[in-house]
């Protein structure tokens, strides 16, 4: 399976480990990716808050580049905000001819045009539907039995476009987590909002939202995410929130492909595990259970 890879700006900066882990995991699963040439920022929530047309033209430029470079090849997007923006641009291009004309006028000077023929896919969609839990089971190098994992979906990978799971009660990460031998933490905050950019401009609101999520994760060893914004909000303010709430709410936060990559026995460095901001004491030791082949060798020797 071959995809265009659209990392997005965060994955070149604050979320470098998400990009490392995504590319390492896909390679291990046999997926082929090719970085989208000359891609640009999707506009995040900033463009949407300033100009409607800009919020469509920026992501549409990426769709146009993909359509031109390899018609019919899906674009794989790991960041939920980028995914939503590209998906929305695709939706408008397909269903709103007046807006499509305007978008194409903004791309004209570069010799680009967009028709909506290329599919935009979230990483979670690709992992669940194109690869699935079996792909993890058959390549399992390390059992994560003993770990309790809280799957966190956030908002924008399933809302407002519920393409690959139930947006009210998503569950598609569960088979992937169970395939590693880990247990799924039962909780009700898996699709609640982390506050997105509130953490920068309206901090008290962001801290309150994240506090509720961390609180409900009590009992889990780790929360796994599929979005750089969610990841940063959940991992970077735990000390402050713990102080505010008068209880220890520190918990490890990993990107889903980092967790799956460990189960597949990929090197920690390739998964960028040294770059995470929120790793609780003792967690890495738990995550580093011996590889299955090592255990088998030991058993043979005995």
């Amino acid at each position: 399976m071959k995809y265009f890879y659209y990392p997005g700006c965060s994955l070149e900066g604050t979320a470098r480990e998400y990009s490392l882990a995504t590319t390492a995991l896909l390679a291990a699963l046999g997926g082929e990716i090719e970085e989208l040439p000359d891609w640009n920022c999707c506009g995040a929530t900033a463009a949407e808050s300033c100009s409607r047309l800009l919020s469509l033209a920026l992501p549409a430029r990426n769709l146009a580049i993909a359509e031109k470079a390899a018609p019919g090849q899906d674009i794989l997007v790991p960041c939920s905000a980028c995914y939503l923006n590209m998906r929305r641009a695709w939706d408008k291009v397909r269903h709103d001819p007046a807006t499509r004309r305007q978008i194409n006028q903004t791309l004209e000077e570069e010799g680009l045009a967009v028709s909506g023929s290329t599919q935009v896919r979230h990483l979670l969609d690709v992992l669940c539907l194109d690869f699935g839990a079996d792909a993890v089971v058959t390549r399992l190098q390390r059992s994560l039995a003993g770990l309790v994992v809280a799957p966190y979906y956030g908002c924008q990978c399933l809302r407002p476009y519920p393409v690959f799971d139930d947006p009210e009660a998503p569950s598609c990460m569960e088979p992937l987590i169970q395939a590693t031998g880990a247990k799924v933490h039962p909780w009700s905050m898996s699709a609640m909002c982390c506050g997105a950019s509130h953490m920068t401009t309206k901090k008290e609101v962001g801290l309150a939202l994240v506090g509720e999520i961390l609180d409900d994760a009590k009992g889990a060893d780790v929360i796994v995410t599929v979005c750089p914004m969610c990841q940063m909000n959940l991992e970077a303010h735990q000390k402050k929130i713990s102080r505010q709430r008068g209880k220890d709410l520190s918990i490890s936060i990993l990107y889903l492909p980092q967790l799956l990559g460990m189960a597949l026995g990929l090197p920690e460095k390739d998964l960028g595990l040294d770059l995470n901001l929120g790793i609780a004491p003792g967690f890495m030791e738990k995550l580093r259970s011996p590889l299955i082949t090592q255990q088998a060798n030991k058993a043979d020797a005995a």
Partner: protein, 187 residues
């Protein structure tokens, strides 16, 4: 599920209150939006009340509320609205109006968005360190950067953000940005 028929708003009406009124015309004031909103606890006016204010055309009062600027685009209301209204889009349209009209109460958010887009316009991609510096400069509050210093230092130590100094870029998206401005000002 996303309803197939959505209220149609012509592109040139999108930045007028009239356009937002069209989006909300079928609102039945049930309050599902307010009940679904994770940020409602911090709002002075709930989403349901805000929609009523929009439909009554109370423009000045709308731009005194914190409601739309506290929308974090989680799309819970949009998904659950029994009338299938594009409520998150309506919030965005109000943000865009506040931005275009330079309304003072929202300067923290609008300056943040502007700093972000300035960085995108320079380089085609946002440079997170540069964006934050542009934001601090635009806010003209010397104490503001201190709030972000602990996280900024952590990120720099991990090699995750580059130099926080704004740099001149190749401006690869200049034609796109210019055309957008031209079309939005003279549709």
């Amino acid at each position: 599920m996303i309803p197939k028929e959505r209220p149609f708003v012509a592109p040139d009406k999108y930045h007028e209150l009239e356009g937002v009124q069209k989006m909300l015309a079928a609102c039945i004031q049930c309050g599902t939006c307010s009940g679904s909103c994770p940020n409602a606890f911090a709002m002075d006016v709930t989403p349901r009340t805000l929609w009523r204010m929009v439909l009554r055309g109370e423009k000045e009062a709308i731009f005194e509320t914190r409601t739309f600027i506290l929308c974090s685009s989680c799309y819970s209301c949009t998904l659950r609205c029994p009338r299938g209204l594009p409520l998150t889009d309506a919030m965005s349209a109000l943000k865009q109006m506040a931005f275009r009209e330079g309304r003072a109460p929202y300067k923290a958010s609008t300056r943040f968005y502007k700093s972000f887009l300035d960085s995108v316009r320079r380089h085609g991609r946002v440079r997170e360190g540069e964006m934050m510096t542009l934001y601090f400069l635009s806010m003209k509050n010397p104490l503001l950067p201190l709030q972000f210093a602990p996280l900024g230092i952590q990120l720099m130590l991990k090699g995750k953000v580059g130099a926080p100094f704004p740099t001149r870029g190749k401006r690869p998206l200049e034609s796109l940005f210019n055309k957008v401005m031209q079309l939005e000002n003279n549709p």
